[in-house]
Amino acid sequence: MLRVSGLTKVFGTREREALRLAGEGLGRDEIHRRTGSTLAVHDVSFSVERGELFVVMGLSGSGKSTLVRLLNRLIEPSAGTVEVEGRDLRALDDAALRTVRNEKISMVFQHFALLPHRTVRENAAYALKVRGAGAAEQRERADWALETVGLLDRAGARPDELSGGMRQRVGLARALAADSEVLLMDEPFSALDPLIRRDMQDLLERLQAELAKTIVFITHDLNEAMRLGDRILMLKDGRTVQLGTGPEIISAPADDYVADFTSDVDRTRVLTAGDLLREPRMTARLGDAPGTVLRALGAAEANGVLVLDGDGRLAGVARDDLLARAVQEGRPAIGPRDLVADHATIAADRPVVEFVHLVGRHVVPLAVVDAEGRLLGVVPRAAVLDALSAAPVRGRRP
């Protein structure tokens, strides 16, 4: 959907020379000392799939705000390509570029950037007004977008009558009303209070679940990045430091810079059941002989075992005392009435924070199941404790 390759931006007059020095691997400071030009973004490449929420994460000065503006050519790239749906934006003339901005790529700004002299509805309808849509269509699209962000009742208000969170909802509505596939979000929630920020993140997650836009989301907050991002690009001094999913970055930070970030991250919200998944040490099936299973339990020093049906779905738990009774009563196979529901299940995509209280409560480990109830694996208590206590892997630090 969005493909970026070798994207580079130099601010300053001696662009060519700065590019050459950057190509030789010189750092930003050295290039600035020699040419007076600033290497804001250097050789960044990535591609964002349709419906993916891609996070670019970095501290201030890392070039992330410049990077996002290169994507719609609000800032003209010095080198590299930006392709949207296979079209190279740098090859477009001004008129064609404006059409792409109007119809394909929308942007949400850190400080909302609403027109203060227009109503909320007029702000939301801005892209449609620019493209020359009729009044009825403008109103319809704007009202739909405002309803989507929960702000239709303030459609007649002016931005300065709204709180920060509400203003950013208008900013979001303006981007949604344009009905563009790609959304660029430049630190959209940084200017908001923590509680409001949480609300807005929730809103974005719900929107994304429903609308599945292709989003490039800029932030300096790794918790936000981990929470929202399908994948995260870590940017430092204009260069890519690491690109991967949240759990990948947490478990194997590429260098000290990334590791410093990850040490502050709340792992219980990043790591999911799927990340901690283990092969169960043993399972039983309906129809197995109770005596055999009981002996296996004894050998494994366990008190119970997860029992699957013929399709691999979780049927329940066979506890040692109930197995012993079945043996005494001479039943040849484990049936449904030998099972108890002494276990808990969780889906693979749920974060640790949602199931940490379930771990270790039962005779069997926490079972991870898919949507059909098939057993994917288990999460033993030790695995959770291990993941939460593990120090991040540090690169060169002694």
Binding site: R69, N72, L74, R98, T99, V100, R101, N102, E103, I105, S106, M107, F109, Q110, H111, A113, L114, L115, P116, H117, Y126, A127, V130, R131, E140, W144, E147, T148, G150, L151, L152, D153, G156, A157, R174, A178, L184, R206, L207, E210
Partner: protein, 305 residues
């Protein structure tokens, strides 16, 4: 030794050359100015004073509120009782024409300067020059080009009044929130749309402060223009000075001040929220409150249709 540089001679030669080369230009400018000032003066002076006093008072009431309306009423009644009504209206006509022309030149120039760095760099020293040149110096070329009478007065006044219009327009546009301009561009607005829909509306308070300054400068130039024979309060003051007539000098000066306060307060309101716009705003709010508010507002809703 440093040789003498005949700079003044060059300027003088330039003026001569212009007069010989494009006399039609000055004739045309003179004709237009004459018509504008004469026409406006006729409109202001012909009806009995009470008509315009009522109009001014109502305008003051609508734009600014009852206090300025009261001031307007009393100030212009005082002018009438000083028997300076027609002179004041002649001055007002001259100021308005000069201010409109100066604004028409200054604001577009300011817009251009805000958009093109080169224009800004080129214009700034010219404005510095225009603002620091003693006012009487303007009169010399004005007289050469346009002779005596009201036209050279108007032209000198226009030149004198242009700078704040340019400066405050440029400043206003430059001060518009960069992110808002960026947002308009990010949604595909053309440069002209960005200017019309974002930059000019948001720069309006500053531009209007510029217009206010243009008007005040124009008024301050009026007495000087009186030296050239432009009719009005300037002529009254000049005559009083030459005849050492303290009484009529004071009266003429007072009329200028009364007119100045009226124009300043009135145009100072342009950039701010006026009584009128407050009234409109209030009405919009009541309409909004009366409109029924429907639907659960926080849930997610699918695209319509």
């Amino acid at each position: 030794m440093i040789p003498h540089l005949p700079l003044g001679q060059w300027v003088s030669d330039l003026i001569d050359w212009l007069l010989e080369t494009v006399p039609w230009l000055f004739d045309a400018v003179a004709a237009v100015m004459q018509v504008l000032v004469d026409g406006l003066t006729d409109v202001l002076v012909s009806p009995p004073p009470v008509v315009w006093i009522v109009v001014f008072t109502v305008v003051a009431l609508v734009l600014r509120g009852p206090w300025l309306a009261l001031y307007t009423l009393l100030a212009f009644l005082l002018v009438v009782s000083l028997e300076l009504w027609s002179e004041t209206m002649q001055t007002l006509a001259l100021v308005l024409v000069a201010a409109v022309v100066a604004t028409a030149i200054g604001v577009p120039l300011g817009i251009l300067a805000a958009r093109r760095r080169a224009v800004s760099v080129a214009v700034r020293p010219v404005l510095d020059f225009m603002q620091t040149t003693p006012v009487f110096v303007y009169l010399i070329p004005a007289v050469f080009f346009f002779g005596v009478g009201v036209v050279p007065g108007v032209v000198a006044t226009i030149l004198f009044a242009i700078p704040p219009g340019v400066r405050l327009t440029e400043l206003g546009i430059r001060q518009v929130d960069r992110e808002v301009v960026e947002a308009a561009r990010a949604f595909g607005a053309r440069p002209g749309q960005v200017l019309r829909e974002v930059q000019l509306p948001l720069a309006l308070p500053s531009i209007m402060a510029g217009v206010n300054q243009v008007i005040m400068l124009a008024l301050s130039m009026v007495v000087t223009a009186g030296l050239l024979g432009a009719a009005g309060l300037g002529a009254v003051v000049v005559r009083a000075v030459t005849q050492l007539d303290v009484a009529s000098g004071f009266e003429g000066g007072l009329a200028v001040v009364l007119l100045a306060i009226f124009l300043d307060r009135l145009t100072g309101a342009f950039g701010q929220r006026t009584a009128l716009s407050r009234l409109l705003h209030l009405r919009r709010q009541t309409e909004r409150q009366q409109r029924p508010v429907g639907g659960a507002e926080t849930g997610l809703v699918s695209p319509a249709g």
